[in-house]
């Protein structure tokens, strides 16, 4: 992958040299034997490319197994037209390629995860629960087959959850507490009957996310002109966050707290003044 095109520049054109799937063939509809699958050849969009690229670049964290997710603000940093990003995420969600979760960091964060990663994470959690305890784990099967496939929103009401799980079998209150303790559902603070969908094992990563954001913002705010060269910033390591610098930079640029300026000596990252 060439470094000529700055990674954080917004892309408006579709022809990017880092594309893995050959583009003209998919537009002509010719069957390409090198592509991963036929559907992926035709379902092509800037947002999907950016999602795949960022998922591949998700940092590897020791001790905690978290599947790769992409924050919505990271997508905004790469693709210029935000309305197009929103609409493509909505259509990907309806096609059941990705799933959106609202993260409880206190700010308005949404994480986008591919459904395959989500299902494999649920299975990993179920396997660990099987090793630890001998309780009945059939509710997770019902959850995977009925709730995940039918309910595409970020939250679900108690009655609706009950009716979806009942399609699998007789539901008891203990089943819902099992789901909550596994980390798949979180009760909402405002309304006791509503649950947020959540990613299991994500707690430590969320803490690292908010601390890493604060650390990066304070790093830049302490400097004299509140800016720093991107090249110098990239090699720094954050002390409080397991996620790498590139993750945080993309997130803060996309949410508007930092902005990048082109200069003759490269990109400069500066704290945005409102």
């Amino acid at each position: 992958m060439s470094k000529k095109i700055p990674e954080f520049g917004p892309s408006t054109s579709r022809k990017r040299p880092r594309n893995e799937e050959p583009e003209p063939q998919s537009e002509n509809g010719v069957v390409n034997s090198h592509s991963l699958s036929l559907e992926e050849d035709f379902a092509f969009s800037d947002t999907l490319m950016a999602l795949r690229m960022m998922r591949a670049q998700f940092p590897h964290i020791q001790k905690v197994s978290v599947p790769p997710f992409v924050l919505q603000s990271q997508l905004y940093s790469s693709i210029k037209n935000r309305t197009e990003v929103d609409r493509e995420i909505e259509s990907l969600k309806r096609e059941k390629v990705v799933r959106i979760f609202k993260l409880n960091t206190g700010q308005d964060d949404h994480a986008i995860m591919f459904i395959d990663d989500y299902i494999s994470q649920i299975e990993r959690v179920v396997k660990r629960m099987e090793e630890n305890s001998k309780t009945d784990l059939v509710v997770f099967e019902w959850f995977k087959t009925h709730v995940v496939q039918s309910k595409l929103d970020t939250s679900i009401g108690h009655q609706e959850l009950w009716s979806f799980l009942s399609l699998g079998g007789k539901v008891k209150e203990e089943h819902i507490s099992q789901l909550i303790s596994a980390g798949l559902l979180i009760r909402q603070l405002i309304d006791q009957n509503m649950y947020w969908f959540s990613i299991p094992n994500i707690g430590s990563v969320l803490k690292g996310l908010s601390q890493g954001r604060k650390e990066l913002m304070s790093l830049l705010s302490r400097r004299k002109y509140k800016e720093m060269l991107m090249a110098a910033l990239e090699v720094k390591r954050l002390r409080f966050s397991p996620l790498d610098m590139r993750f945080h930079l993309r997130d803060l640029i996309g949410s508007g707290q930092l902005k990048t300026i082109e200069t003759p000596s490269g990109l400069i990252v500066r704290v945005a003044k409102d």
């Binding site: 905004y76 935000r82 309305t83 929103d86 609409r87 909505e90 308005d108 009655q159 409102d274």
Partner: protein, 450 residues
């Protein structure tokens, strides 16, 4: 511009197209006015601005120090800077010393839509006053159960004269000027109502945004609201033409039918929980049986939210098709009123103020929207969500803005007690020709003393 006038003369250009081109070119050049200034006589932050709808001449402003003032924006009271800058002072000012004046901050002040003889103010002292403009006396007074956040009157109403009032109480009250009493109340919100607007296409439809994050549509002739906007019901862009919309309609109607199916579903599962949990659940089943009977109250079970925080501002476009809403989660959303879906246009807002309501404005052809974002007013293109420009001029947060379509001027009021005028630049040569001070003599007059 001259080419277009020529085309108009020959009949190549239709009059509507001609006028809309001129409006567009003027709007795109709006900046802080170099020829007009409003001298604000308020000692508190300006909370509400409105230009009257009949003449487009008088600007009504309500402020946090309980003052209300009216300014004439077309005729200046005096001139400054060698006749170049026209200053507009207030025509009259009502403050706390007035015998029936408000005691606390005024949150909204609106003109009576039919003429400028009356205006209505709502204040944090729980009162709504109707004033006679010429005598500046209170003709009617309504007492509300809580702080009044906003009041509104329908500008297209032909058969009613109702003031809709949103307070910190959960019920929206409708006050009738003709009879002096409350007409009825609309319940359904779970928390106070911070913003409300009448629809621009029907005189019976009211849109309210609450502190619980929900936006509800009410038909005041019926009980209960007929639509609650849900931010997860979305459509991709404008509604597709009739033939192609069968597919998307199935999806959106399946969402809505699942919403309608929810109340009967809930009642049947309530029955299940009664069997397994015994006595404690019985009162809730009885409560749901009682609530089942009234069709108007089914909507109060609908907990869909339009924003993750408080809905701080609402604006219906002039054509009555779209609704722009601002929330304290710093999001602006554009809703298609007919289908009730979120059009997923992303407006790039970094932060919006969350404690106070904001007043937004939309240009007449619904292409641009003016939104107060902290200390600036940002101009967004409604369809793509891009920021066209940002007006920086206030020293503190901007609370309200009003777009005067007649002159293509924008008036903004903020916490710094100022009302600023933003207009297309006036060329200076026209000012010199008008000889306001009587100094501009003709160039060939003799200077000889006689």
């Amino acid at each position: 511009m001259w080419k277009e006038t020529r085309e108009r003369e020959f009949g190549n250009l239709r009059p509507n197209l001609f006028s809309s081109r001129i409006f567009k070119s003027r709007i795109s050049s709006i900046q802080l006015s170099n020829s007009k200034e409003i001298v604000s006589s308020h000692r508190g932050s300006v909370n509400s601005l409105q230009v009257d709808l009949t003449e487009g001449r008088y600007l009504l402003a309500g402020a946090s120090d309980a003052t209300v003032a009216v300014y004439d924006v077309q005729r200046a009271t005096d001139h400054d800077g060698r006749g170049r800058i026209s200053k507009h002072k207030s025509l009259f000012l009502i403050n706390k010393q007035h015998e029936h004046g408000h005691k606390y901050a005024i949150s909204s002040a609106i003109w009576y839509p039919i003429d400028t003889g009356l205006f209505v103010t709502g204040s944090y002292d729980h009162h709504i006053n109707v004033w006679d403009t010429n005598t500046t006396q209170v003709v009617m007074n309504f007492k509300m159960p809580g702080k009044v956040y906003r009041n509104a009157m329908s500008s297209i109403a032909r058969s009613h004269m109702l003031i809709a009032a949103g307070t910190e109480d959960v019920q929206v009250r409708l006050c009738d000027i003709a009879s002096g009493a409350f007409a009825h109340t609309l319940s359904g919100h779970r928390d106070g109502v911070m913003s409300l607007e009448w629809s621009t296409s029907s005189e019976w439809v009211l849109v309210t945004g609450g502190c619980d994050g929900a936006i509800r549509f009410w038909d005041i002739r019926r009980a209960g609201c007929f639509r609650v906007l849900d931010q997860s019901h979305s459509q991709l862009g404008r509604r597709p033409p009739l033939l192609a919309c069968a597919a998307t309609n199935k999806k959106s109607s399946s969402h809505q039918s699942s919403a309608k199916a929810r109340p009967p579903q809930r009642k049947s599962t309530n029955g299940n929980t009664v069997k397994s949990h015994g006595v404690a659940r019985v009162p809730s089943q009885m409560k749901s049986a009682k609530q089942r009977s009234h069709p108007g109250m089914i909507s109060s079970h609908d907990r869909a939210t339009a924003h993750y925080g408080v809905v701080t501002g609402l604006k219906v476009t002039e054509d009555g098709m779209y609704l722009l809403s601002a929330g304290s989660d710093s999001r602006l959303r554009l809703w298609d009123i007919e289908s009730g879906c979120n059009t997923l246009v992303n407006f790039e807002t970094a932060r919006l103020q969350s404690s106070k309501a904001i007043q937004m404005a939309v240009s007449q052809d619904s292409a641009l929207s003016f939104v107060p974002c902290m200390t600036t007013v940002k101009v967004f293109d409604i369809w793509s969500g891009q920021t066209k420009c940002a007006f920086r001029g206030h020293y503190e947060n901007v609370n309200c803005c009003w777009y005067n379509a007649q002159d293509q001027e924008l008036y903004t009021g903020g916490n710094d007690r100022q009302i600023l005028v933003w207009s297309p630049p006036k060329s200076i040569s026209t000012e010199d020709d008008e000889s306001k001070n009587g100094e501009a003599a003709t160039s060939d007059q003799d200077n000889w003393s006689d």
